[in-house]
């Protein structure tokens, strides 16, 4: 539909509106009119129309997000394409406070009539919920953002790269992997996302943001000649990022596929681990996930306060007053930072989904719990702690929704283990291990609902004897209890060992939503951790 026709259709759709329709001479139809729809003044007019409708229906607060997600996925196995999909979704969601309760409604029909209907529906939803309210919701103050704009640190738009080029890259990587004797099966994929998102609120804010994400990956499976064993190696040392196609180029899949294949084959003949206590040297390609599960999730304030008790769980960090400034998470050199500002990371943003500019904050300072992840609803719950610290009660900007059809709630920022201030090398960490295991890459992972007891596998395991790597191991997983584990950390690497890992699909919430998040970490050493053998005969 051309712009002219679009206006015609939009006007026709608005014709049935009562008072107020004349204010929208260029209303949007149920599709973005142009590629630059986000900057189109009509988008802002529609969002404001929804905000006004919510306010008129009795909302004491309302925010509106209109967004468009374009994604592209490409899957291959061996020398053939298994899938190629291009997806485009567009719609809006309205969140309101009425009677002290939240209400939310969303629709794909981004039309003048529908934004009003949905805004009113959200208010009706809140009123239905208000009957259960015992503690009305209060929001921490947020600065008005009159005209915010932000875009991911992206160099090459992945949607402009020729499909043949993407396919060729994956098939060449697959071919390299299959050159390794014993490597029998290989799959590879690319996933790209471009999300354009607007935000408007009764606070008078208007924000336009554009996000790019890229995730290339491979899995290589080796099968023993007698088919009695098979082992896989995933490319978990290539993390997803909030970047463009330059991240795929930098991943060097073709150049690295052979090594991954060799590591899969080596597992077939690797020595099964003897269960017992070992010193562990964990590379950041692995450790990011342990940080994610045992530090980042337990310091989410909604979880701590019981809001996730029915699914994602609660936290051992509760009540907050007993932990903030008191609980020793790990050694003095342990500093855990929350941030949404590192360029090219998955959680990076200009403003969160409540229009709050995120800050950098230390969740763990010198080994002690110092702060927690918050939204506008949650920050007032820590008012006493912030007052003691001489800090204002304000959100850290940790609100996020995966799409327009989902309500925003507390999701983690990038949560990083900061490296040593001196340049400690990986060799130095290994050199002080008499009987240990090095783990590279993330594998199986599981942790209890309060984040105490966890079990982690990996991709590649190497035996360490007397300060040197001696050979490959397999069937390795370690079990730990969070406080003891982090207090067993006796050294971390310097900036030279630092790597940013992450996940595209971190789940939480009901209905469950995914959050894309990175975790930076140096290599680190842990003493006498319980290791089990996961091999078992059928």
């Amino acid at each position: 539909m051309r712009r002219r026709e679009f206006i015609l259709h939009g006007t026709a759709a608005a014709a049935g509106l009562a008072a107020g329709s004349a204010l929208l001479p260029r209303a949007l139809d149920a599709r973005p009119a142009r590629e630059d729809w986000l900057a189109d003044p009509a988008t802002r007019e529609l969002a404001m129309r929804a905000v006004d409708a919510a306010r008129q229906a009795g909302a004491t607060y309302a925010d509106v997000r209109i967004s468009r997600n374009r994604s592209q996925s490409l899957g291959t196995r061996e020398q053939q394409i298994t899938s190629f999909n291009d997806s485009d979704t567009y719609g809006f969601g309205v969140r309101v406070l009425a009677g002290g309760a939240w209400g939310f409604a969303a629709s794909r029909d981004v039309t003048p009539d529908e934004v009003v209907r949905v805004a009113r529906q959200a208010v009706a939803q809140a009123r239905a919920n208000a009957a259960t309210v015992k503690r009305p919701i209060e929001l921490a103050p947020a600065e008005r953002v009159a005209d915010g704009k932000w875009t991911s640190a992206m160099q090459v738009d992945p949607f402009t790269i020729a499909i043949e080029q993407k396919v060729d890259l994956l098939l060449r990587a697959n071919a390299e992997a299959l050159k390794v004797q014993g490597a029998r099966f290989v799959t590879s994929s690319m996933f790209f996302l471009k999300q354009e998102k607007s935000f408007a609120s009764t606070d008078g804010s208007w924000i336009e943001q554009t996000y790019y994400r890229a995730y290339p990956s491979m899995t290589i499976t080796a099968v023993s000649a007698d088919r009695s064993d098979f082992q896989s190696r995933q490319s978990t040392d290539i993390a997803p990022r909030g970047m463009g196609y330059e991240h795929v180029t930098a991943a060097r899949l073709v150049e690295t596929a052979g090594r991954w294949a060799e590591e899969a084959v080596a597992k077939l003949s690797a020595k099964p681990v003897q269960p017992g206590r070992y010193d562990l040297v964990l590379l950041p390609t692995h450790l990011w996930l342990t940080i994610h599960e045992s530090i980042a999730h337990p310091t989410e304030l909604d979880r701590i306060m019981g809001f996730e008790a029915n699914y994602a769980g609660t936290s051992f960090v509760t009540p907050p007053a007993d932990y903030l400034g008191k609980f020793r998470y790990g050694p003095d050199f342990m500093n855990i930072q929350g941030e949404r500002s590192t360029p090219g990371t998955l959680s990076a943003t200009g403003w969160d989904d409540e229009g709050v500019k995120p800050d950098e904050f230390l969740i763990v300072r010198n080994g002690v719990v110092n702060d927690l992840q918050t939204t506008r609803e949650q920050a007032p719950w820590l008012a006493d702690w912030y007052r003691q610290q001489g800090r204002p009660v304000s959100s850290h900007g940790n609100s996020y929704a995966q799409n327009w059809s989902d309500v925003q709630f507390q999701r983690m920022p990038n949560v990083n283990l900061l490296p040593a201030t001196s340049e400690v090398t990986l060799e130095e960490l290994i050199g002080d291990v008499q009987d240990g295991i090095l783990i590279d890459g993330d594998g199986s992972f599981s942790i209890d609902q309060q984040r105490y007891n966890a079990q982690f596998g990996g991709q590649v395991f190497k035996e360490i004897k007397n300060g040197r790597i001696t050979g490959p191991l397999k069937d390795v997983a370690y079990q730990m209890r969070t406080p003891e584990f982090w207090n067993s950390m006796d050294a971390i690497g310097g900036r030279g060992t630092y790597f940013i890992g992450g996940s595209f699909f971190d789940g939480k919430g009901q209905p469950s939503q995914v959050n894309a998040v990175n975790h930076g970490s140096p290599a680190a050493r842990f003493r006498r951790v319980n290791v089990i053998n996961t091999g078992r005969r059928a």
Binding site: D88, T89, F104, A106, T221, G306, S444, R451
Partner: protein
């Protein structure tokens, strides 16, 4: 207000208009639409609630064996034309897929019973009232309830250039609650799922969770190791679902599955207890599933496990043709046969064992044995000399459903359960409670 979704006539019209834009040799259109409603509660009050309406249309275009797909959620003429053009542009560019078999022509489908007016017409007020039926008794007993009511009502359609048209509707509701004691030492869970809202009883569900929360206070530690367990139906479904997800025939034939063996797969082999029989059936009254898959292939009644023997693996169209078998469809939901024992009888017949309500954070460890790890949660109890004597701390397990289903001692009548870990709506699953021996626990958890 009633749930919104695309009607059969609308779907047919949209599909026809979309396919009219196609210039490809072959093309398929899939249309999905739904209203997703939910009410979430925490600390004895609603925390969030919402309704979202969405519809998506996916086009698969093929030039010879060059195939690609594109999707959109906008259905105006220009968007429909555009999504077809995108799919066709992509299809022209990608290499041939040697496994592409072309699209299907007209098919016959079984009738399903997955749609319920009562569910489709549920109002926010009725949802809030259902939540109140849980939060009020919990609060009255000094407990803290948290939970989730999730509802999806929608339709799906598939059409091809070769004349296939399939349309089906479904509505499913899932209600779960976790009730915790204020001192943080006890937690109980209950959940139910149905297609028809009228079959749920939030008050009775609340009672179950409240009773478990009260009984689970101040758990004591037991030693990890091999235990006799009584798994309530939700825990059974958590385990059995892992095996059902491993039934891929191609992986088995290629030597990368528990179901592999030299020269082929284990179809015909007996590897589970004699009493284990598992089917999936779109026409089931208690566990209906979709009448067709995303290619328009009819789902039919499938016997997967019969009296402990593997009767079938999952064959897609390509692998079925290559191996000379019929394609099977994927068992999104399933029904497992049970026995005649009650959970109370299982407890009375247990000298020393553990009663498990549900599992949590289940993740794969070793595909060679379908070995998974996970933890017990929200109601784990010690059984001594035929009765529950105390709550116990939660435990981590490293176990395979194959081993568990080999060690069955007693089974109850099967029931429809809330099967998803997340509490979101999920395919229908019907399973019994099971008493099994030698279930492997590897460590203790302090989590309540």
């Amino acid at each position: 207000m009633p749930a919104r979704f695309i009607s059969r006539d609308e779907a047919e019209s949209i599909a026809r208009r979309t396919l009219a834009f196609s210039t490809a040799d072959d093309a398929r259109v899939q249309i999905q639409s739904s209203t997703h409603g939910n009410t979430r509660f925490a600390r004895n009050q609603v925390s969030t609630a919402g309704d979202a309406y969405d519809a998506t249309l996916a086009v698969t275009a093929a030039f010879g064996k060059k195939v690609a797909s594109a999707s959109t959620n906008r259905f105006d003429e220009e968007s429909l034309r555009s999504v077809v053009q995108t799919a066709e542009r992509l299809a022209r560019l990608v290499p041939e897929d040697p496994e592409y078999l072309g699209e299907l022509g007209p098919q016959q489908y079984s009738r399903t019973t997955a749609f319920s007016e009562a569910t489709a017409n549920l109002t926010p007020e009725q949802r809030a009232a259902a939540v109140n039926a849980i939060t009020r008794p919990a609060e009255a007993q000094g407990l803290i309830s948290t939970g989730f009511l999730d509802i999806i009502t929608g339709s799906q359609a598939v059409a091809t250039k070769k004349g296939l048209f399939a349309y089906d509707t479904a509505s499913i509701v899932n209600l779960t609650t976790t009730v915790r004691t204020p001192d943080g030492t006890g937690s109980g869970w209950a959940g139910d799922a149905a297609n028809d809202w009228a079959r749920l009883n939030p008050g009775a569900m609340a009672e179950r969770a409240i009773r478990k929360a009260q009984l689970s206070r101040n758990p004591r530690a037991v030693e990890p190791g091999k235990w006799t367990v009584i798994l309530e139906p939700t825990a059974v479904a958590n385990m059995v679902g892992l095996m059902m997800g491993s039934l891929d025939a191609r992986q088995a034939d290629e030597g990368r599955s528990f179901f592999s063996k030299a020269g082929g797969n284990k179809i015909g082999e007996k590897f589970l207890d004699q009493r284990v029989t598992i089917v999936s059936d779109p026409g089931s009254a208690v566990a209906p599933m979709a009448a067709f898959n995303g290619q328009g292939l009819p789902n039919r009644r499938m016997l997967w496990i019969e009296n402990g023997s593997l009767r079938n693996l999952v064959y897609n169209r390509f692998w079925a043709q290559r191996q000379g078998r019929e394609p099977t469809g994927f068992p999104a939901g399933f029904e497992m046969a049970g026995g005649t024992s009650t959970v109370e009888e299982m407890i009375r017949a247990t000298e020393r064992g553990l009663l498990v309500t549900r599992f949590w954070y289940i993740r794969p460890v070793d595909p060679r044995t379908i070995l998974y790890t996970g933890l017990t949660r929200d109601g784990t109890f010690l059984i001594e000399n035929g009765q529950i004597t105390t709550a116990v701390k939660n435990l981590r397990w490293n176990e395979s459903p194959v081993f568990m289903l080999n060690n069955v001692e007693m089974m109850s009548a099967p029931v429809r359960i809330s099967a998803s870990e997340s509490g979101d709506v999920s395919p229908a699953v019907v399973v019994p409670a099971i008493k099994a021996h030698d279930f492997t626990f590897t460590s203790l958890s302090d989590a309540v």
